[in-house]
């Protein structure tokens, strides 16, 4: 046991670097996913059938083929096929972005659809341009609806980052796994690793709850401080526009 912690102390720079890689993959991956969610989600609401069709096909493709396969495809198959090689971390970011972006698109689509029709009609009656309508009326209301589901996705993305270990990107899991194999303290190592991910997940949830509160404030909806500490239930993910 003490052996484990002294090794942990010795290898602290590696663990810190690994934590950094995990955070980088989470943040950059989810930013890419966010971007794709909006692009694909807005495309899904288009009047033009081809635009809707492209969005549908892309979303179903990236949801239907497993994330694991997408990651391995980028890491193993793409260099073989095209000659281009991404760094392992970049493979992870792209795979997470594409996969969770496809899930996110459904959230965006569902949230826009859930804004009452009258809001849309009122904006038309006020002669707003389509862009203005989206920017000032529809999106602020849809955004509040999206945040809880996005929180779920963000946590799921964080939980997917240990996959980086399999494509030899030196993430948190890789670092702790290394200490485990050096000391043989299996149980301690994995419990510590689980605890680390738990803390990260909780911190991200807290940040997202703050974001939700700010978004609600802008609509004139105030929430008590107690709502900041609640963790998201899985159930809202299952019901939000078939987010799976």
């Amino acid at each position: 046991m003490s052996d484990f912690f002294s090794t942990l102390l010795d290898e602290f720079p590696q663990v810190r670097a690994g934590l950094w890689v995990t955070l980088e993959a989470t943040v950059l991956g989810s930013l890419l996913a966010l971007l794709l969610s909006f692009v694909l989600g807005l495309m899904a609401g288009s009047k033009l059938l081809p635009v809707r069709g492209v969005s549908r096909v892309v979303v179903e493709f990236f949801r239907g083929t497993s994330l694991y396969i997408q990651l391995f495809w980028l890491y193993y198959a793409m260099p073989q096929l095209t000659g281009y090689e991404l760094t392992p971390l970049l493979c992870g970011i792209v795979a997470f972005g594409l996969n969770y972006g496809a899930y996110g698109a459904e959230i965006v689509r569902g949230a826009i659809k859930s804004v009452p029709r009258a809001q849309y009609e009122a904006a038309v009656a006020l002669n707003m341009t389509p862009f203005h309508r989206m920017r000032k009326v529809i999106m602020p209301q849809a955004w509040v609806q999206m945040i809880p589901s996005f929180t779920n996705l963000l946590i799921q993305l964080l939980k997917a980052t240990p996959l980086l270990w399999l494509i030899s990107a030196a993430d948190l899991m890789t670092a702790v796994e290394h200490i485990r194999s050096r000391t043989g303290e299996t149980l301690t190592a994995y419990l510590l690793l689980l605890a680390a991910y738990f803390v990260l997940a909780y911190a991200l949830t807290l940040l997202m709850n703050l974001l939700e509160r700010a978004a609600k404030r802008r609509l004139g909806l105030h929430t008590g401080a107690g709502s900041l500490l609640k963790s998201r239930t899985a159930e809202s993910a299952a019901t939000a526009g078939g987010a799976r």
Binding site: L67, I155, L158, P162, M173, L187, A234, E235, G242, R244
Partner: protein, 214 residues
């Protein structure tokens, strides 16, 4: 160094992948079964009258749900070395997803009108009869599509089992890819198999959702 797509490797590896796919399906079905039963037990336990039960149950659930499946799998496989990897995989998948399905059941149970509980009390039914004959039949019916969706998610996460040496589809794909240097072909094929299997199932779930009036 562009290599063209080798169709021979596709034909060659297909039977192997199908062989692995059987294990994938087995893990999904049994994992879903564990998740469905355990999730129900957790949801009922969460309604227990004593906080000595509800608080620990909730804490453990939050912890399992917020931590990565891959770490749980690798950890369990490293700690329980004498248990067969497939068994570990099914149990860990089941427990991980039970934390999700229990929320689904909880919502279903919350959806049963309060009058039903009161009627049970008025008829002085035992707690056991109340759950079995009145509450659960109403609660479970509405949660079927959501459970189905989690089964599909689980299906797409079964490749994690390859890491603990369960010989499912992706395990076979990787092996073939390494032996013949044909990663492109096998991973493309494996991805398509996932798509072909999961897309119709998710359409079916959407239909079921509509029919049950969600």
């Amino acid at each position: 160094m562009n290599q063209s797509f080798n169709w021979d490797a596709v034909g060659d590896s297909f039977p192997l992948l199908l062989e692995g796919f059987r294990v994938t399906l087995l893990a999904t079905v049994l994992g879903t079964l564990v998740a469905a039963v355990l999730g129900l037990a957790i949801a009922v336990a969460g309604r227990a009258p004593s906080r000595l039960v509800t608080v620990p149950v909730k804490a453990v659930m939050e912890f399992v749900r917020a931590t990565p499946l891959l770490v749980q799998l690798v950890g369990a496989a490293a700690v329980f070395t004498s248990v067969e990897p497939l068994t570990i995989g099914i149990v860990v998948l089941g427990i991980h997803y039970a934390t999700y399905t229990s929320e689904v059941y909880r919502a279903g149970i919350d959806g049963v009108p309060k009058g039903q509980w009161e009627a049970c009390r008025a008829l002085s039914l035992s707690p056991r009869r109340t759950w079995q004959a009145v509450i659960l039949p109403q609660a479970v019916r509405n949660v079927l599509p959501a459970l189905g969706n989690y089964a599909i998610s689980m299906f797409k996460e079964t490749p994690f089992l390859a890491v603990i040496t369960v010989q499912e589809m992706v395990f076979e794909a990787r092996k073939y890819g390494t032996d013949h240097f044909a990663y492109t072909e096998v991973f493309t094929l494996a991805g398509l198999i996932f798509l072909v299997a999961s897309y119709p199932t998710s359409l079916l779930m959407r239909k079921l959702e509509k029919r049950l009036g969600h």
